[in-house]
């Protein structure tokens, strides 16, 4: 893999970095270098805040290879405060019930482990927003 591409994928995965279209200002995630709205070149990096709320969610009980030790895990569509939706696992839920509209924030966690080669892959997940007690 080309080095710069690899580096950008890492920024996408670790830091939730996308792009903003210089022509129509739409925020883009995942980054794709072409604006899905106006079709023009869009390579300007954009750092999302990592805050948002749950838009939809599901709990996966039939996991693919590499994710079986996490079962069951909750996958959500998160509406970022800057606009785009992102697909990610929810974490640190403890006993908390997930519901549409739940405020969440991004954290970095282990995504999967490749048993035989022992490779661990890290990236973003979202947890319920920690708020000071009222």
């Amino acid at each position: 893999m080309e080095v710069s591409r690899h580096w950008r994928l890492k920024k996408q995965r670790y830091a939730l970095q996308g792009e903003v279209c210089p022509h129509c200002s739409v925020k883009i995630f995942p980054p794709r270098d072409i604006c899905p709205d106006c079709g023009l070149d869009a390579r300007t990096p954009f750092q999302f805040s990592g805050r948002g709320e749950v838009y939809s969610f599901t709990t996966v009980r039939d996991a693919p290879e590499g994710h079986s030790e996490q079962v069951p895990y909750t996958v959500a569509l998160v509406r970022l405060e800057e606009g785009p939706l992102v697909t990610a696992q929810l974490t640190d839920l403890d006993q908390q019930d997930v519901e549409i509209g739940l405020p969440v924030e991004m954290v970095t966690r282990k995504l999967r482990s490749d048993g035989e080669r022992g490779m661990l892959v890290y990236g973003y997940k979202f947890r319920p927003l920690l708020r000071p007690a009222a």
Binding site: L9, Q12, R13, F29, P30, P36, Y55, S56, F57, T58, T59, V60, R61, D62, A63, P64, E65, G66, H67, S68, Q70, Y73, V75, A76, L77, P84, L85, V86, T87, A88, Q89, I100, L111, R112, V121, G123, K125
Partner: protein, 394 residues
């Protein structure tokens, strides 16, 4: 373009088929379609094979060449067409274009998949690999997970209930009992999968709100159709069923990038394109085969294809309009839910069912006076969709 006739249709029962190879299954389905057409010693000009992942499931590639050799159809042209779960539909589209354009006079289209050769989590992983690599797949997203996210939104927006989802499963499994080719041949009840104290054991959660009986099984199988010109079809002495409309459309790879994730735009556009080519409207359709990989999809597709307004599909289902004998029977074959879903075979199996229905050869599940059929083959999670309109000529 020349009219294209489906002169032959054949398949093998979908199930777990440990004894058969992928190419072996496709060869039998292909022979069944050629026998059905009564092809005699006429030569097949081209073969299109719909298959998603033989390289991953079976460690075999170039399966179109292997199939031509197995059937001794050399020197026919041969291509394998991969388009995820819509591979079968894409193979039919290519066969249609070959005959319509005059490139070929006799075309064999075979769809097949052998999925049970690998263990469950591996199969789940291979299917999940069609999702976006860096925005979905790496986060443990599976096809049932996308369907779960979609289902929750659809239920919220349109008032679809768990009972509605279960009605799809019950109807399609009842239809499947009438189809000797169906993988799952078992009656289920609302009580057994929804309200009984053991319901959570009978139909455990796969990706909530979807339970086991909301999801199609993992199957092995193959299906085939023989396409030709009107001229040759008349010599073959079979009822004439033509492909009058072919539509295809795409949407964003990810669910997250759709401005309204409940809007299946590719289904709407592909269906409109198929109806427009056929010069027909959804109200002209007598029988439909939809891609119910998950129960919600039958409801959502029935609306997006234009049969019911948005939010009305569940009501039509509840009123019995989509049962055999109803106003628009949907999935008389049992659909993916009961017939099974050997991924690359599905789009072709839908066409096989329509041909049998339109010829009046569908046995106990025959839809009365069916002359116009519609099928929808849904690839990815709605990112590549094919729609077909088939008609019986009197």
């Amino acid at each position: 373009m020349r009219p294209v006739v489906v002169a032959g249709a054949g398949m093998i029962p979908f199930e777990r088929r440990d004894e058969d190879s992928l190419v072996g299954m496709m060869a039998v389905a292909g022979l069944n379609a050629m026998d059905d057409a009564g092809l005699g010693d006429r030569a097949v000009d081209a073969v299109y094979v719909g298959n998603m992942a033989s390289g991953l499931f079976n460690h075999q590639v170039s399966v179109a060449s292997a199939l031509v050799d197995r059937l001794s159809l050399m020197p026919a042209a041969a291509d394998r067409i991969e388009n995820g779960p819509a591979s079968g539909g894409s193979a039919i589209k290519n066969g249609f274009l070959a005959v319509a354009s005059g490139y070929a006079d006799i075309v064999l289209v075979v769809g097949g998949e052998k999925m049970r050769e690998v263990i469950g989590p591996k199969a789940t992983d291979i299917v999940a690999a069609m999702t976006h690599p860096s925005a979905e797949y790496i986060y443990g997203v599976t096809l049932p997970a996308l369907a779960g996210l979609f289902t929750r939104l659809y239920m919220e927006k349109y008032g679809v209930t768990r009972e509605h989802l279960t009605m799809v499963a019950i109807k399609n499994q009842e239809n499947g009992l009438l189809n000797p080719y169906a993988h799952i041949r078992m009656k289920i009840t609302m009580e057994g999968v929804l309200t009984h104290p053991q319901a959570h054991i009978n139909s455990p959660i796969v990706a909530d709100p979807l339970h086991l009986y909301d999801c199609c099984p993992v199957s092995d199988g193959a299906a085939a159709v023989l396409l030709t010109t009107e001229e040759i079809a008349k010599e073959l002495n079979k009822p004439i069923v033509t492909i009058d409309g072919v539509g295809q459309a795409t949407d964003t790879h990810t669910l997250q990038e759709r401005s309204d994730p409940t809007d299946l735009k590719a289904v709407t556009v592909a269906s409109e394109r198929a109806f427009s080519m056929a010069g027909l409207k959804p109200k002209d359709v007598d029988v439909a085969e939809l891609h119910d990989a998950f129960t919600i999809l039958e409801i959502a597709e029935s609306e997006h294809a234009g049969f019911f307004p948005k939010g009305e599909g569940a009501k039509a289902l509840e009123a019995g309009e989509t049962r055999i004998g109803g106003k628009l029977p949907i999935n008389p074959s049992g659909g993916l839910k009961a017939r099974g879903h050997p991924v690359g075979a599905t789009g072709v199996a839908q066409a096989v069912e329509l041909v049998w229905q339109l010829r009046g050869e569908a046995g106990d599940r025959q839809v009365k006076k069916a002359t116009t059929g519609f099928s929808l083959n849904f690839g990815g999670f709605g990112n590549n969709v094919l729609a077909f309109v088939l008609r019986r000529k009197s």
